[in-house]
Symmetry: C2
Subunit: 363 residues, 2 copies
């Protein structure tokens, strides 16, 4: 039995990472989930993962409470039209990373927009497909909701309930505003990351050997699936193009200022770096509030089982809450530095506890 | 007493992050370290951190084995000339992020290049100053060495011994080649990161609320100190300008292709994303070898002390070696997902062990 107030019977069209993760989250809340995907192997895997049952090919006996169209942006409108013709559900939503184009196409195709509320859960992974799905993928994440003017209140309620049931925070936003926002904080940075990584195809081994953490971070998302991303970029072309042009202009200007070499020119480049500082500082902290500043306690760790457990045990004994951890591996050596982020007031207590137990903690 | 084969008496000019870290590393190996910095507070802090003794103002009684000039790129040559006039050491090196300009300026000023070997340890932190210094900062990192043609073999030996004593891997490289390499893998990406972050100064709260891990990673290094970086960029202007122009061109072309909107245009944008995949894959893995693929085991963790210790203890009991860890915080909730990277063959064993002990590990 589904928990009260959530859609009890859900159809998920498209069992990729997002569709399967939603299915898993709704199953966990007790909903009945029916799955469909034009790729039979993907559908089978999602069923095996416990995400739900395969939707029978024929017409549904009774419309589900909600159908989630987890398909690429360009496929949303036609999938909606088809689903509505089959009478799959009472209410429909999608999960595409762009919102204006699918809504416009759906209107053009004559879909019933009184029962469609477009959605975009802001969650993802570098891996794709049902195998990477997680029932907690949306926990605490924003879930953008764009209701067309025709949408009935009960449709908005059902999709809002879906987002909440998946653990996300629903954010009502206009479709055009959404698309400009994600161009700025997601789609644009994605192409820039790819352009930096693309330079490395001409790098020699000396250059690659000098690569540090900075270029690794800047290019991490350049490892994503181009097939998925070209669909997103094409469907949000105008806002993304604007961001890319602005970045390209800043970079071209910086290049010519560096070539100029005067002190005034250097001051202009420094100004770009300062604007970078200011923009970076505006990104909210991981916990959704202001960016928190933690103290980092670095500990040298031998690369063997058991060591991390003992370190965290020592932290527990010291009563220190660990906010974040990262391992900085030393290339070519079986050694690493564990960086433990804690509240500033707890740093010295943790460092002393660890030193007292024989770990090397620089002062 | 210094360990055998390492410089026994070292002068460090400039007690910032890098200078103080070298001083700490050499002190740990038993070397006598003398420190100097034109900023008295920075010098005092380095002395208090145990990095060495303050260098007396007058002429040194006897030249040290080695002087490390840990000053900005533009200050290297004049600092070298001054140090050589004072007879500070038998051999000199620097740590600047660019190599061709300081070497050319040193030659122009008439420095004795037979006892100078330029160096660049590839290590750093987002924080700067002596307080951020660590004696293990260089462990396993590359340390580029650029010896001018005049350099005596014993000078090369002394600077190589310094790099090794700090735990780094010396890499002999031509100065111009070094500068082109770091423009590609460090200086260029730095400016690009700043340009992406600079866009966020015009973002509204909706956009900032939709920011995910991707834009956080791309803009992490945009938080660095502009005063430090403008010196580096200005001293390596030509190679950096080339990288920025290439990236700017790729972005401007991508923007106009997106505006074009044809399928052929989309294919060209997809090609940039594919080149991004290829370039990203060329970055060596953290251990210095090929990029290793680990399996990631996600575990839901309550945000309280002791939990991590128990998880790592369970991993130890299962005999699983942990290659990397990261905590994915769920914004707005006291919950997180611990992502444990392990060798693919160990993933299922770890997942089962954790499930058996009551943790939630998605399949």
């Amino acid at each position: 039995m589904a928990e009260e107030g959530i859609p009890g019977r859900v159809v998920v069209v498209g069992t990729g990472l997002i569709g399967t993760s939603i299915a898993l989250a709704m199953r966990k809340r007790g909903a009945e989930v029916l799955l469909t995907d034009r790729d039979a192997a993907s559908l089978r895997m999602a069923v095996e993962l416990g995400a739900g049952q395969a939707l029978p090919d024929g017409a549904a006996e009774e419309p589900a409470d909600l159908a989630v169209l987890a398909v690429p942006p360009a496929a949303v409108a036609v999938t909606l039209l088809d689903a509505q013709k089959r009478g799959l559900a009472k209410v429909y939503t999608d999960v595409a990373s762009v919102k204006a184009l699918p809504l416009a196409q759906a209107a053009q195709l004559g879909c019933d927009l009184s029962v469609f509320v477009a959605g975009h859960p802001l969650a993802g992974r570098e891996r794709s497909g049902p195998a990477a799905a997680q029932d907690d993928l949306f926990l605490g994440r924003p879930w953008a909701l764009c209701a067309p003017p025709e949408a009935k209140p009960e449709a908005v309620e059902a999709v809002t309930a879906l987002a909440r049931a998946c653990g996300a925070e629903p954010v009502t936003v206009d479709a055009e505003e959404h698309d400009r926002a994600v161009a700025l904080v997601s789609h644009g940075p994605h192409v820039v990351s790819a352009a930096v990584a693309a330079r490395l195809t001409v790098a020699d081994d000396v250059a690659l050997g000098l690569a540090g953490q900075g270029v690794r971070d800047v290019t991490r998302i350049a490892a994503s699936d181009p097939r998925l991303w070209i669909g997103i970029l094409s469907a949000n072309s105008e806002p993304v193009a604007e961001v890319l042009e602005a970045v390209a202009t800043d970079l071209a200007v910086a290049a010519s200022l560096l070539r100029d070499g005067s002190e005034g020119a250097a001051a202009h480049v420094a100004d770009l770096l300062l604007r970078g500082n200011a923009g970076r500082a505006r990104i909210p902290g991981k916990h959704g509030g202001d960016q928190k500043t933690y103290a980092v306690v670095p500990v040298m760790i031998p690369d063997r089982p058991g060591e991390l457990a003992m370190i965290f045990q020592a932290a527990g004994i010291a009563g220190v809450n660990i906010e974040d951890v990262a391992i900085e591996h030393s290339p070519g050596r079986p050694l690493g530095v564990l960086e433990i982020s804690v509240k500033p007031e707890a740093a010295e207590r943790l460092a002393e506890e660890l030193r007292a137990r024989g770990w090397s903690v620089p002062g």
